[in-house]
Protein backbone atom coordinates (compact mmCIF):
# COMPACT_ATOMS: atom_id res chain seq x y z
CA UNK A 1 0.00 0.00 0.00
CA UNK A 2 2.84 2.36 0.87
CA UNK A 3 6.30 2.27 -0.54
CA UNK A 4 9.14 4.64 0.27
CA UNK A 5 12.21 4.31 -1.89
CA UNK A 6 15.54 5.96 -1.03
CA UNK A 7 13.82 9.10 0.17
CA UNK A 8 16.03 12.08 0.88
CA UNK A 9 15.04 15.48 2.16
CA UNK A 10 17.45 18.30 2.67
CA UNK A 11 16.74 21.63 4.39
CA UNK A 12 19.72 23.78 3.55
CA UNK A 13 22.71 21.99 5.05
CA UNK A 14 20.62 19.76 7.26
CA UNK A 15 19.60 16.40 5.84
CA UNK A 16 16.36 15.30 7.49
CA UNK A 17 16.03 12.06 5.55
CA UNK A 18 19.04 10.11 4.35
CA UNK A 19 17.76 7.57 1.85
CA UNK A 20 14.83 6.15 3.81
CA UNK A 21 13.27 3.01 2.31
CA UNK A 22 10.39 0.93 3.61
CA UNK A 23 7.22 -0.84 2.53
CA UNK A 24 3.94 -1.14 4.38
CA UNK A 25 1.32 -3.69 3.35
CA UNK A 26 -2.38 -2.99 3.12
CA UNK A 27 -4.21 -3.27 6.44
CA UNK A 28 -1.03 -2.92 8.47
CA UNK A 29 -0.75 -0.64 11.47
CA UNK A 30 2.73 0.75 11.23
CA UNK A 31 4.37 2.52 14.14
CA UNK A 32 7.01 5.08 13.36
CA UNK A 33 9.26 5.50 16.39
CA UNK A 34 12.13 7.85 16.95
CA UNK A 35 13.22 10.88 18.91
CA UNK A 36 12.19 14.42 17.97
CA UNK A 37 13.90 15.60 14.79
CA UNK A 38 14.54 12.04 13.58
CA UNK A 39 12.59 12.57 10.36
CA UNK A 40 9.19 11.08 11.23
CA UNK A 41 7.15 14.21 10.49
CA UNK A 42 9.16 14.91 7.32
CA UNK A 43 8.43 11.42 5.98
CA UNK A 44 4.76 11.77 6.87
CA UNK A 45 4.51 15.21 5.26
CA UNK A 46 5.97 13.79 2.06
CA UNK A 47 3.45 10.95 2.09
CA UNK A 48 0.69 13.50 2.72
CA UNK A 49 1.76 15.43 -0.44
CA UNK A 50 2.73 18.46 1.62
CA UNK A 51 6.44 18.33 1.03
CA UNK A 52 8.58 17.58 -1.98
CA UNK A 53 11.48 15.19 -1.40
CA UNK A 54 14.95 16.22 -2.53
CA UNK A 55 15.32 12.82 -4.16
CA UNK A 56 13.75 9.39 -4.01
CA UNK A 57 10.15 8.32 -4.44
CA UNK A 58 7.17 7.65 -2.25
CA UNK A 59 4.04 5.79 -3.37
CA UNK A 60 0.61 5.50 -1.82
CA UNK A 61 -1.71 2.93 -3.38
CA UNK A 62 0.59 2.79 -6.39
CA UNK A 63 0.53 6.55 -7.00
CA UNK A 64 3.73 8.52 -6.75
CA UNK A 65 3.08 11.36 -4.32
CA UNK A 66 4.70 14.22 -6.23
CA UNK A 67 3.35 13.39 -9.68
CA UNK A 68 -0.16 12.29 -8.59
CA UNK A 69 -0.95 14.32 -5.48
CA UNK A 70 -4.69 14.51 -6.22
CA UNK A 71 -5.08 10.75 -6.38
CA UNK A 72 -2.97 10.30 -3.26
CA UNK A 73 -5.07 12.84 -1.32
CA UNK A 74 -8.20 10.83 -2.00
CA UNK A 75 -6.54 7.78 -0.46
CA UNK A 76 -5.18 9.37 2.69
CA UNK A 77 -6.45 10.98 5.85
CA UNK A 78 -3.73 13.09 7.42
CA UNK A 79 -3.51 14.43 10.92
CA UNK A 80 -0.45 16.62 11.59
CA UNK A 81 1.26 16.77 14.98
CA UNK A 82 -0.09 20.27 15.55
CA UNK A 83 -3.25 21.44 13.91
CA UNK A 84 -5.75 24.20 14.39
CA UNK A 85 -9.49 24.30 14.12
CA UNK A 86 -12.04 26.89 13.08
CA UNK A 87 -13.27 28.15 16.41
CA UNK A 88 -16.53 29.59 15.15
CA UNK A 89 -17.79 26.28 13.79
CA UNK A 90 -19.63 23.57 15.67
CA UNK A 91 -18.24 20.03 15.66
CA UNK A 92 -20.84 19.01 13.09
CA UNK A 93 -20.17 22.03 10.85
CA UNK A 94 -16.44 21.36 11.09
CA UNK A 95 -16.86 17.84 9.73
CA UNK A 96 -19.37 19.05 7.17
CA UNK A 97 -16.87 21.61 5.86
CA UNK A 98 -14.21 18.97 5.31
CA UNK A 99 -16.81 16.61 3.84
CA UNK A 100 -17.65 19.33 1.31
CA UNK A 101 -13.93 19.75 0.61
CA UNK A 102 -13.85 16.11 -0.42
CA UNK A 103 -16.84 16.69 -2.73
CA UNK A 104 -19.10 14.43 -0.68
CA UNK A 105 -22.76 15.20 -1.51
CA UNK A 106 -24.84 16.87 1.22
CA UNK A 107 -27.15 13.88 1.72
CA UNK A 108 -24.22 11.55 2.21
CA UNK A 109 -22.56 13.96 4.63
CA UNK A 110 -25.70 14.06 6.73
CA UNK A 111 -25.46 10.30 7.12
CA UNK A 112 -21.72 10.02 7.67
CA UNK A 113 -21.18 12.81 10.22
CA UNK A 114 -23.31 11.36 13.06
CA UNK A 115 -21.58 8.01 12.52
CA UNK A 116 -18.15 9.61 12.74
CA UNK A 117 -19.06 11.57 15.85
CA UNK A 118 -20.29 8.33 17.36
CA UNK A 119 -17.03 6.58 16.47
CA UNK A 120 -14.94 9.21 18.24
CA UNK A 121 -17.38 9.50 21.17
CA UNK A 122 -18.36 13.08 20.42
CA UNK A 123 -22.04 12.65 19.62
CA UNK A 124 -22.96 14.70 22.69
CA UNK A 125 -20.77 17.57 21.41
CA UNK A 126 -22.36 17.72 17.97
CA UNK A 127 -23.59 21.31 18.36
CA UNK A 128 -20.77 22.52 20.58
CA UNK A 129 -18.37 25.12 19.17
CA UNK A 130 -14.98 23.62 18.44
CA UNK A 131 -13.17 26.13 20.66
CA UNK A 132 -15.15 24.86 23.65
CA UNK A 133 -13.75 21.32 23.25
CA UNK A 134 -10.86 19.99 25.31
CA UNK A 135 -7.55 19.09 23.65
CA UNK A 136 -8.40 15.40 23.74
CA UNK A 137 -11.79 16.07 22.15
CA UNK A 138 -10.22 18.25 19.46
CA UNK A 139 -7.77 15.45 18.74
CA UNK A 140 -10.64 12.99 18.37
CA UNK A 141 -12.53 15.43 16.19
CA UNK A 142 -9.38 15.71 14.07
CA UNK A 143 -9.39 11.96 13.73
CA UNK A 144 -13.04 12.03 12.64
CA UNK A 145 -12.08 14.70 10.13
CA UNK A 146 -9.42 12.37 8.67
CA UNK A 147 -12.08 9.71 8.19
CA UNK A 148 -14.74 11.87 6.57
CA UNK A 149 -13.95 10.62 3.05
CA UNK A 150 -13.37 7.04 4.21
CA UNK A 151 -9.69 6.90 3.22
CA UNK A 152 -7.76 3.67 2.95
CA UNK A 153 -4.68 5.08 4.63
CA UNK A 154 -4.44 7.12 7.81
CA UNK A 155 -1.31 9.14 8.50
CA UNK A 156 -1.33 10.23 12.12
CA UNK A 157 1.60 12.29 13.33
CA UNK A 158 1.98 12.03 17.12
CA UNK A 159 -1.77 11.86 17.75
CA UNK A 160 -1.30 11.18 21.46
CA UNK A 161 1.06 14.06 22.23
CA UNK A 162 -0.19 16.46 24.85
CA UNK A 163 -3.06 14.24 25.92
CA UNK A 164 -3.78 13.19 29.48
CA UNK A 165 -3.76 9.43 30.28
CA UNK A 166 -7.52 9.11 29.97
CA UNK A 167 -7.59 10.81 26.57
CA UNK A 168 -4.72 8.57 25.45
CA UNK A 169 -6.66 5.46 26.37
CA UNK A 170 -9.72 6.73 24.51
CA UNK A 171 -7.62 7.47 21.44
CA UNK A 172 -6.03 4.03 21.61
CA UNK A 173 -9.46 2.40 21.69
CA UNK A 174 -10.55 4.33 18.60
CA UNK A 175 -7.40 3.36 16.75
CA UNK A 176 -8.03 -0.27 17.60
CA UNK A 177 -11.48 0.06 16.07
CA UNK A 178 -9.98 1.57 12.94
CA UNK A 179 -7.49 -1.27 12.73
CA UNK A 180 -10.39 -3.70 12.88
CA UNK A 181 -11.99 -1.79 10.02
CA UNK A 182 -8.99 -2.74 7.89
CA UNK A 183 -7.41 0.68 7.50
CA UNK A 184 -3.71 1.00 6.80
CA UNK A 185 -2.45 3.26 9.56
CA UNK A 186 0.88 5.00 9.97
CA UNK A 187 1.22 6.40 13.43
CA UNK A 188 4.23 8.12 14.87
CA UNK A 189 5.24 8.49 18.46
CA UNK A 190 8.30 8.64 20.63
CA UNK A 191 6.53 6.47 23.19
CA UNK A 192 7.26 2.92 22.12
CA UNK A 193 5.11 0.85 24.50
CA UNK A 194 2.05 2.80 23.45
CA UNK A 195 2.68 1.99 19.81
CA UNK A 196 3.72 -1.58 20.49
CA UNK A 197 0.27 -2.35 21.82
CA UNK A 198 -1.55 -1.45 18.66
CA UNK A 199 0.98 -1.74 15.87
CA UNK A 200 1.73 -4.76 13.75
CA UNK A 201 4.99 -3.42 12.41
CA UNK A 202 7.38 -0.90 13.88
CA UNK A 203 10.08 1.15 12.23
CA UNK A 204 12.67 2.99 14.25
CA UNK A 205 14.05 6.12 12.67
CA UNK A 206 17.01 8.10 13.88
CA UNK A 207 18.67 11.04 12.14
CA UNK A 208 16.93 10.27 8.88
CA UNK A 209 17.86 6.59 8.78
CA UNK A 210 15.71 3.57 9.44
CA UNK A 211 17.69 1.66 12.07
CA UNK A 212 15.18 -1.07 12.85
CA UNK A 213 12.15 -2.37 11.00
CA UNK A 214 10.04 -5.41 11.62
CA UNK A 215 7.15 -6.99 13.42
CA UNK A 216 6.63 -5.89 16.99
CA UNK A 217 7.59 -9.34 18.33
CA UNK A 218 10.84 -9.32 16.37
CA UNK A 219 11.80 -5.90 17.67
CA UNK A 220 10.97 -7.00 21.20
CA UNK A 221 13.12 -10.10 20.83
CA UNK A 222 15.96 -8.01 19.48
CA UNK A 223 15.66 -5.63 22.37
CA UNK A 224 15.70 -8.39 24.92
CA UNK A 225 18.88 -9.76 23.35
CA UNK A 226 20.53 -6.46 23.86
CA UNK A 227 20.93 -4.90 27.24
CA UNK A 228 22.23 -1.56 28.39
CA UNK A 229 25.06 -1.48 30.89
CA UNK A 230 25.94 1.49 33.01
CA UNK A 231 29.47 1.58 34.39
CA UNK A 232 30.61 4.24 36.86
CA UNK A 233 34.33 5.01 37.00
CA UNK A 234 36.17 6.95 39.62
CA UNK A 235 38.91 8.02 37.21
CA UNK A 236 40.44 7.36 33.74
CA UNK A 237 37.16 7.73 31.91
CA UNK A 238 38.76 8.17 28.49
CA UNK A 239 40.81 4.97 28.89
CA UNK A 240 37.68 3.11 29.95
CA UNK A 241 35.74 4.34 26.90
CA UNK A 242 38.57 3.30 24.59
CA UNK A 243 38.76 -0.10 26.28
CA UNK A 244 35.01 -0.62 25.98
CA UNK A 245 34.94 0.32 22.30
CA UNK A 246 37.46 -2.45 21.63
CA UNK A 247 35.20 -5.13 23.13
CA UNK A 248 33.38 -7.19 20.45
CA UNK A 249 29.99 -7.44 22.19
CA UNK A 250 29.84 -3.78 23.11
CA UNK A 251 28.21 -1.10 20.98
CA UNK A 252 27.07 2.51 21.23
CA UNK A 253 29.54 3.61 23.86
CA UNK A 254 28.55 6.96 25.31
CA UNK A 255 29.50 9.01 28.34
CA UNK A 256 27.15 10.53 30.88
CA UNK A 257 29.28 12.31 33.47
CA UNK A 258 31.13 9.63 35.42
CA UNK A 259 29.08 6.93 33.78
CA UNK A 260 29.87 4.98 30.64
CA UNK A 261 26.67 3.75 29.01
CA UNK A 262 27.01 0.91 26.53
CA UNK A 263 24.86 -1.49 24.58
CA UNK A 264 25.78 -5.12 25.30
CA UNK A 265 24.64 -8.13 23.30
CA UNK A 266 26.26 -10.94 25.30
CA UNK A 267 24.85 -13.28 27.96
CA UNK A 268 25.41 -13.18 31.75
CA UNK A 269 28.73 -15.07 31.58
CA UNK A 270 30.06 -12.72 28.90
CA UNK A 271 28.95 -9.80 31.06
CA UNK A 272 31.08 -11.17 33.92
CA UNK A 273 34.00 -11.40 31.48
CA UNK A 274 33.54 -7.77 30.50
CA UNK A 275 33.70 -6.65 34.12
CA UNK A 276 36.77 -8.79 34.67
CA UNK A 277 38.51 -7.29 31.63
CA UNK A 278 37.88 -3.80 32.99
CA UNK A 279 39.38 -4.76 36.34
CA UNK A 280 42.39 -6.43 34.70
CA UNK A 281 43.01 -3.30 32.68
CA UNK A 282 43.34 -1.46 35.99
CA UNK A 283 40.31 0.74 35.40
CA UNK A 284 38.72 1.99 38.66
CA UNK A 285 35.16 0.66 38.30
CA UNK A 286 32.95 1.83 41.17
CA UNK A 287 29.63 0.53 39.87
CA UNK A 288 28.56 -1.85 37.13
CA UNK A 289 24.90 -2.50 36.48
CA UNK A 290 22.24 -3.21 33.91
CA UNK A 291 20.09 -0.22 33.12
CA UNK A 292 16.70 -0.57 34.69
CA UNK A 293 13.73 1.12 33.25
CA UNK A 294 10.78 0.57 31.05
CA UNK A 295 10.82 -0.80 27.57
CA UNK A 296 10.88 2.66 26.10
CA UNK A 297 13.96 3.81 28.02
CA UNK A 298 15.91 0.68 27.22
CA UNK A 299 14.92 1.08 23.60
CA UNK A 300 16.06 4.66 23.46
CA UNK A 301 19.34 3.76 25.15
CA UNK A 302 19.94 1.09 22.55
CA UNK A 303 19.20 3.38 19.65
CA UNK A 304 21.02 6.39 21.08
CA UNK A 305 23.79 7.62 18.89
CA UNK A 306 23.04 5.31 16.00
CA UNK A 307 23.43 7.01 12.69
CA UNK A 308 25.60 9.81 14.00
Amino acid sequence: MIKIDKLRKRYGKMEALKGLSLEIDKGTVFGFVGPNGAGKSTSMSILATLLEPTSGKAYVGGYEVTSHPRQVRKLIGYMPDFFGVYDNLTAEEYLDFYGANYDIPVQERRQIIPQLLELVNLSHKRDAYVDSLSRGMKQRLGLARCLVHNPEVLILDEPASGLDPRARIELREILKELRDMGKTIIISSHILPELAEMCDVIGVIEEGNLIAFGKVEEIYARMQEKRVLRIRLVDRMEDALTHLKQQPLVSNVTREGNWAVVGFSGDDQQQVELLRSLALAGLPVAAFNEAEGNLEEIFLEITKGVGS
Binding site: A48, Y63, E64, Q71, Y78, P80, F83, F97, A100, N101
Partner: protein
Amino acid sequence: MNVLRRFRNPVLMNELKLRMRTKRSPWIITLYLLVLGTVALTFVFLMTGAGSYYNPNETRELFMMLSLMQLAMICFVVPGLTAGVISGERERQTLSILLTTNVSATKLVLGKWLASLSFMSFLVFATIPLYAIIFLYGGVSPAQLLQVFAFYVVTMLGLGSIGVLLSTLIKRTGIATVLSYALVFGYGVGTSVLAEVIREFIRFQRNANNITGPFPVWPDFFHSLNPLFAMMSIFEEGPFRGLRRMAGSKYAALALDPYAIYCLFFAVVTIICLALSIYLIKPVKPRWRRKAATGE
Protein backbone atom coordinates in the same frame (compact mmCIF):
# COMPACT_ATOMS: atom_id res chain seq x y z
CA MET B 1 -26.14 20.28 -11.88
CA ASN B 2 -22.70 18.85 -12.51
CA VAL B 3 -21.57 22.16 -13.95
CA LEU B 4 -22.82 23.93 -10.83
CA ARG B 5 -21.04 21.41 -8.63
CA ARG B 6 -17.77 22.21 -10.37
CA PHE B 7 -18.11 25.84 -9.35
CA ARG B 8 -19.20 25.11 -5.79
CA ASN B 9 -16.54 26.34 -3.44
CA PRO B 10 -16.71 25.03 0.14
CA VAL B 11 -13.87 27.33 1.23
CA LEU B 12 -15.86 30.37 0.10
CA MET B 13 -19.05 29.19 1.82
CA ASN B 14 -17.19 28.43 5.03
CA GLU B 15 -15.41 31.77 5.00
CA LEU B 16 -18.67 33.65 4.54
CA LYS B 17 -20.16 31.79 7.47
CA LEU B 18 -17.15 32.36 9.71
CA ARG B 19 -16.80 36.03 8.83
CA MET B 20 -20.38 36.85 9.67
CA ARG B 21 -20.14 34.95 12.95
CA THR B 22 -17.39 37.08 14.41
CA LYS B 23 -18.39 39.83 16.82
CA ARG B 24 -16.18 42.22 14.88
CA SER B 25 -18.26 42.19 11.67
CA PRO B 26 -21.36 44.08 12.89
CA TRP B 27 -19.09 46.66 14.50
CA ILE B 28 -17.17 47.20 11.28
CA ILE B 29 -20.42 47.66 9.34
CA THR B 30 -21.77 50.11 11.93
CA LEU B 31 -18.57 52.11 12.05
CA TYR B 32 -18.23 52.21 8.28
CA LEU B 33 -21.76 53.51 7.76
CA LEU B 34 -21.40 55.92 10.65
CA VAL B 35 -18.27 57.52 9.20
CA LEU B 36 -19.64 57.85 5.66
CA GLY B 37 -23.10 58.89 6.85
CA THR B 38 -21.73 61.55 9.18
CA VAL B 39 -19.56 63.04 6.45
CA ALA B 40 -22.39 63.06 3.89
CA LEU B 41 -24.93 64.56 6.26
CA THR B 42 -22.45 67.14 7.56
CA PHE B 43 -21.80 68.17 3.96
CA VAL B 44 -25.55 68.57 3.30
CA PHE B 45 -25.93 70.47 6.56
CA LEU B 46 -23.14 72.87 5.64
CA MET B 47 -24.47 73.32 2.08
CA THR B 48 -27.95 74.13 3.28
CA GLY B 49 -26.46 76.94 5.34
CA ALA B 50 -27.58 75.28 8.57
CA GLY B 51 -31.24 74.95 7.73
CA SER B 52 -32.10 77.33 4.88
CA TYR B 53 -32.14 75.66 1.43
CA TYR B 54 -30.02 73.28 -0.65
CA ASN B 55 -28.61 74.20 -4.03
CA PRO B 56 -29.15 71.20 -6.37
CA ASN B 57 -26.10 72.28 -8.43
CA GLU B 58 -23.95 71.20 -5.54
CA THR B 59 -25.21 67.61 -5.71
CA ARG B 60 -22.41 66.75 -8.10
CA GLU B 61 -19.84 67.86 -5.52
CA LEU B 62 -21.55 65.82 -2.83
CA PHE B 63 -21.58 62.79 -5.13
CA MET B 64 -17.87 63.23 -5.94
CA MET B 65 -16.95 63.67 -2.33
CA LEU B 66 -18.92 60.63 -1.25
CA SER B 67 -17.45 58.51 -4.05
CA LEU B 68 -13.86 59.56 -3.34
CA MET B 69 -14.33 59.03 0.33
CA GLN B 70 -15.70 55.56 -0.25
CA LEU B 71 -12.69 54.85 -2.49
CA ALA B 72 -10.37 55.94 0.31
CA MET B 73 -12.22 53.63 2.68
CA ILE B 74 -11.82 50.74 0.25
CA CYS B 75 -8.08 51.40 -0.03
CA PHE B 76 -7.93 51.48 3.74
CA VAL B 77 -10.01 48.37 4.49
CA VAL B 78 -9.20 45.92 1.65
CA PRO B 79 -5.48 45.36 2.48
CA GLY B 80 -6.44 44.64 6.08
CA LEU B 81 -9.14 42.21 5.02
CA THR B 82 -7.10 40.27 2.50
CA ALA B 83 -3.53 40.29 3.80
CA GLY B 84 -4.33 37.65 6.41
CA VAL B 85 -6.40 35.21 4.42
CA ILE B 86 -3.67 32.68 3.64
CA SER B 87 -1.11 33.55 6.31
CA GLY B 88 -3.93 33.41 8.86
CA GLU B 89 -4.69 29.83 7.83
CA ARG B 90 -1.01 29.06 8.13
CA GLU B 91 -0.78 30.64 11.59
CA ARG B 92 -3.93 28.83 12.69
CA GLN B 93 -2.31 25.59 11.46
CA THR B 94 -5.27 24.75 9.26
CA LEU B 95 -3.61 25.30 5.89
CA SER B 96 -1.74 22.00 5.75
CA ILE B 97 -4.97 20.11 6.44
CA LEU B 98 -6.81 22.01 3.72
CA LEU B 99 -4.03 21.27 1.25
CA THR B 100 -4.38 17.53 1.80
CA THR B 101 -8.08 17.59 0.87
CA ASN B 102 -9.62 17.56 -2.60
CA VAL B 103 -9.81 21.35 -2.64
CA SER B 104 -7.58 22.60 -5.43
CA ALA B 105 -5.16 25.47 -4.89
CA THR B 106 -7.29 27.51 -7.31
CA LYS B 107 -10.48 26.96 -5.33
CA LEU B 108 -8.68 27.70 -2.09
CA VAL B 109 -7.18 31.00 -3.26
CA LEU B 110 -10.30 32.15 -5.11
CA GLY B 111 -12.53 31.17 -2.19
CA LYS B 112 -10.46 33.14 0.29
CA TRP B 113 -10.15 36.12 -2.05
CA LEU B 114 -13.85 36.29 -2.90
CA ALA B 115 -14.94 35.75 0.70
CA SER B 116 -12.92 38.67 2.01
CA LEU B 117 -14.06 40.89 -0.86
CA SER B 118 -17.68 39.90 -0.46
CA PHE B 119 -17.56 41.47 2.97
CA MET B 120 -16.10 44.65 1.50
CA SER B 121 -18.76 44.61 -1.23
CA PHE B 122 -21.34 44.22 1.47
CA LEU B 123 -19.96 47.35 3.15
CA VAL B 124 -19.96 49.30 -0.11
CA PHE B 125 -23.44 48.27 -1.16
CA ALA B 126 -24.75 48.99 2.33
CA THR B 127 -23.96 52.67 1.61
CA ILE B 128 -26.39 52.85 -1.34
CA PRO B 129 -29.08 54.51 0.81
CA LEU B 130 -26.62 57.36 1.37
CA TYR B 131 -26.53 57.92 -2.37
CA ALA B 132 -30.29 58.28 -2.24
CA ILE B 133 -29.69 61.74 -0.78
CA ILE B 134 -28.09 62.74 -4.08
CA PHE B 135 -30.93 61.38 -6.18
CA LEU B 136 -33.37 63.26 -3.99
CA TYR B 137 -31.99 66.45 -5.48
CA GLY B 138 -30.89 65.15 -8.91
CA GLY B 139 -27.87 66.30 -10.90
CA VAL B 140 -26.12 62.94 -11.29
CA SER B 141 -26.88 60.33 -13.92
CA PRO B 142 -27.55 56.69 -12.97
CA ALA B 143 -24.86 55.73 -15.50
CA GLN B 144 -22.29 57.62 -13.45
CA LEU B 145 -23.45 55.88 -10.30
CA LEU B 146 -23.08 52.51 -12.02
CA GLN B 147 -19.63 53.49 -13.27
CA VAL B 148 -18.59 54.45 -9.76
CA PHE B 149 -19.74 51.14 -8.30
CA ALA B 150 -18.08 49.18 -11.11
CA PHE B 151 -14.92 51.14 -10.31
CA TYR B 152 -15.16 50.05 -6.68
CA VAL B 153 -15.51 46.43 -7.68
CA VAL B 154 -12.46 46.59 -9.99
CA THR B 155 -10.39 48.32 -7.30
CA MET B 156 -11.44 45.85 -4.63
CA LEU B 157 -10.61 42.86 -6.80
CA GLY B 158 -7.21 44.31 -7.72
CA LEU B 159 -6.16 45.44 -4.24
CA GLY B 160 -7.57 42.23 -2.80
CA SER B 161 -5.49 40.10 -5.13
CA ILE B 162 -2.35 42.00 -4.08
CA GLY B 163 -3.25 41.33 -0.44
CA VAL B 164 -3.79 37.63 -1.16
CA LEU B 165 -0.44 37.37 -2.96
CA LEU B 166 1.41 38.99 -0.06
CA SER B 167 -0.47 36.75 2.35
CA THR B 168 0.73 33.72 0.38
CA LEU B 169 4.30 34.95 0.12
CA ILE B 170 4.74 36.11 3.71
CA LYS B 171 4.19 33.73 6.60
CA ARG B 172 3.25 36.33 9.22
CA THR B 173 -0.08 38.12 8.91
CA GLY B 174 1.26 41.23 10.65
CA ILE B 175 4.09 41.71 8.18
CA ALA B 176 1.85 40.88 5.22
CA THR B 177 -0.68 43.50 6.36
CA VAL B 178 1.92 46.24 6.84
CA LEU B 179 3.43 45.47 3.44
CA SER B 180 0.01 45.49 1.78
CA TYR B 181 -0.75 48.94 3.17
CA ALA B 182 2.70 50.19 2.20
CA LEU B 183 2.26 48.85 -1.32
CA VAL B 184 -1.26 50.24 -1.78
CA PHE B 185 -0.39 53.71 -0.53
CA GLY B 186 2.99 53.65 -2.25
CA TYR B 187 1.20 52.77 -5.47
CA GLY B 188 -1.41 55.48 -4.97
CA VAL B 189 1.17 58.19 -4.48
CA GLY B 190 3.86 56.66 -6.70
CA THR B 191 1.88 56.54 -9.94
CA SER B 192 1.06 60.24 -9.86
CA VAL B 193 4.51 61.29 -8.69
CA LEU B 194 5.96 59.26 -11.55
CA ALA B 195 3.48 60.84 -13.97
CA GLU B 196 4.51 64.35 -12.89
CA VAL B 197 8.22 63.51 -13.00
CA ILE B 198 7.78 62.23 -16.57
CA ARG B 199 5.75 65.32 -17.48
CA GLU B 200 8.48 67.64 -16.16
CA PHE B 201 11.19 65.65 -17.88
CA ILE B 202 9.38 65.82 -21.23
CA ARG B 203 8.75 69.55 -20.74
CA PHE B 204 12.43 70.13 -19.99
CA GLN B 205 13.48 68.16 -23.09
CA ARG B 206 11.00 70.02 -25.27
CA ASN B 207 12.17 73.40 -24.01
CA ALA B 208 15.83 72.49 -24.40
CA ASN B 209 15.35 71.25 -27.96
CA ASN B 210 12.68 73.77 -28.95
CA ILE B 211 10.20 71.02 -29.82
CA THR B 212 6.70 72.15 -30.65
CA GLY B 213 3.57 70.17 -31.40
CA PRO B 214 1.22 68.22 -29.12
CA PHE B 215 2.50 67.22 -25.71
CA PRO B 216 2.96 63.43 -25.31
CA VAL B 217 0.24 61.62 -23.39
CA TRP B 218 2.53 59.37 -21.29
CA PRO B 219 1.98 61.30 -18.05
CA ASP B 220 -1.77 60.94 -18.57
CA PHE B 221 -1.39 57.18 -18.87
CA PHE B 222 0.39 57.02 -15.52
CA HIS B 223 -2.22 59.26 -13.94
CA SER B 224 -4.85 56.86 -15.30
CA LEU B 225 -3.38 54.10 -13.14
CA ASN B 226 -3.94 56.15 -10.02
CA PRO B 227 -7.24 55.20 -8.31
CA LEU B 228 -7.99 58.78 -7.28
CA PHE B 229 -7.50 60.36 -10.72
CA ALA B 230 -9.05 57.41 -12.57
CA MET B 231 -12.17 57.88 -10.51
CA MET B 232 -12.15 61.65 -11.09
CA SER B 233 -12.16 60.95 -14.81
CA ILE B 234 -15.71 59.59 -14.37
CA PHE B 235 -16.69 63.15 -13.47
CA GLU B 236 -14.66 64.62 -16.35
CA GLU B 237 -12.08 65.87 -13.90
CA GLY B 238 -8.40 65.07 -13.37
CA PRO B 239 -5.11 65.77 -15.16
CA PHE B 240 -6.04 64.20 -18.50
CA ARG B 241 -5.80 67.13 -20.90
CA GLY B 242 -3.54 65.17 -23.27
CA LEU B 243 -5.91 62.25 -23.59
CA ARG B 244 -8.92 64.53 -24.06
CA ARG B 245 -7.17 66.51 -26.75
CA MET B 246 -6.19 63.26 -28.45
CA ALA B 247 -9.83 62.16 -28.52
CA GLY B 248 -10.60 65.00 -30.86
CA SER B 249 -7.61 64.39 -33.14
CA LYS B 250 -6.76 61.86 -35.86
CA TYR B 251 -5.36 59.58 -33.14
CA ALA B 252 -8.76 59.27 -31.51
CA ALA B 253 -8.58 55.48 -31.72
CA LEU B 254 -5.61 55.52 -29.34
CA ALA B 255 -7.21 57.91 -26.90
CA LEU B 256 -8.30 55.44 -24.30
CA ASP B 257 -10.52 56.59 -21.53
CA PRO B 258 -8.52 56.80 -18.22
CA TYR B 259 -11.29 54.72 -16.67
CA ALA B 260 -10.74 51.97 -19.27
CA ILE B 261 -6.95 52.11 -18.84
CA TYR B 262 -7.38 51.75 -15.09
CA CYS B 263 -9.80 48.81 -15.38
CA LEU B 264 -7.58 47.05 -17.91
CA PHE B 265 -4.48 47.50 -15.77
CA PHE B 266 -6.21 46.28 -12.61
CA ALA B 267 -7.61 43.26 -14.45
CA VAL B 268 -4.08 42.30 -15.49
CA VAL B 269 -2.75 42.87 -11.93
CA THR B 270 -5.57 40.75 -10.52
CA ILE B 271 -4.91 37.85 -12.88
CA ILE B 272 -1.14 37.91 -12.30
CA CYS B 273 -1.43 38.13 -8.50
CA LEU B 274 -3.99 35.33 -8.28
CA ALA B 275 -2.10 33.07 -10.68
CA LEU B 276 1.08 33.58 -8.66
CA SER B 277 -0.74 32.90 -5.39
CA ILE B 278 -2.20 29.68 -6.78
CA TYR B 279 1.22 28.55 -7.97
CA LEU B 280 2.96 29.46 -4.71
CA ILE B 281 0.45 27.85 -2.39
CA LYS B 282 0.83 24.42 -4.00
CA PRO B 283 3.05 22.35 -1.71
CA VAL B 284 4.12 20.13 -4.58
CA LYS B 285 4.75 22.22 -7.68
CA PRO B 286 3.49 20.82 -10.97
CA ARG B 287 6.09 19.69 -13.45
CA TRP B 288 5.20 19.24 -17.04
CA ARG B 289 7.32 16.23 -17.72
CA ARG B 290 6.39 14.01 -14.83
CA LYS B 291 6.44 10.33 -15.66
CA ALA B 292 3.43 8.10 -15.07
CA ALA B 293 3.21 6.47 -11.69
CA THR B 294 4.99 3.23 -11.25
CA GLY B 295 5.15 1.50 -7.96
CA GLU B 296 3.45 -1.34 -6.29
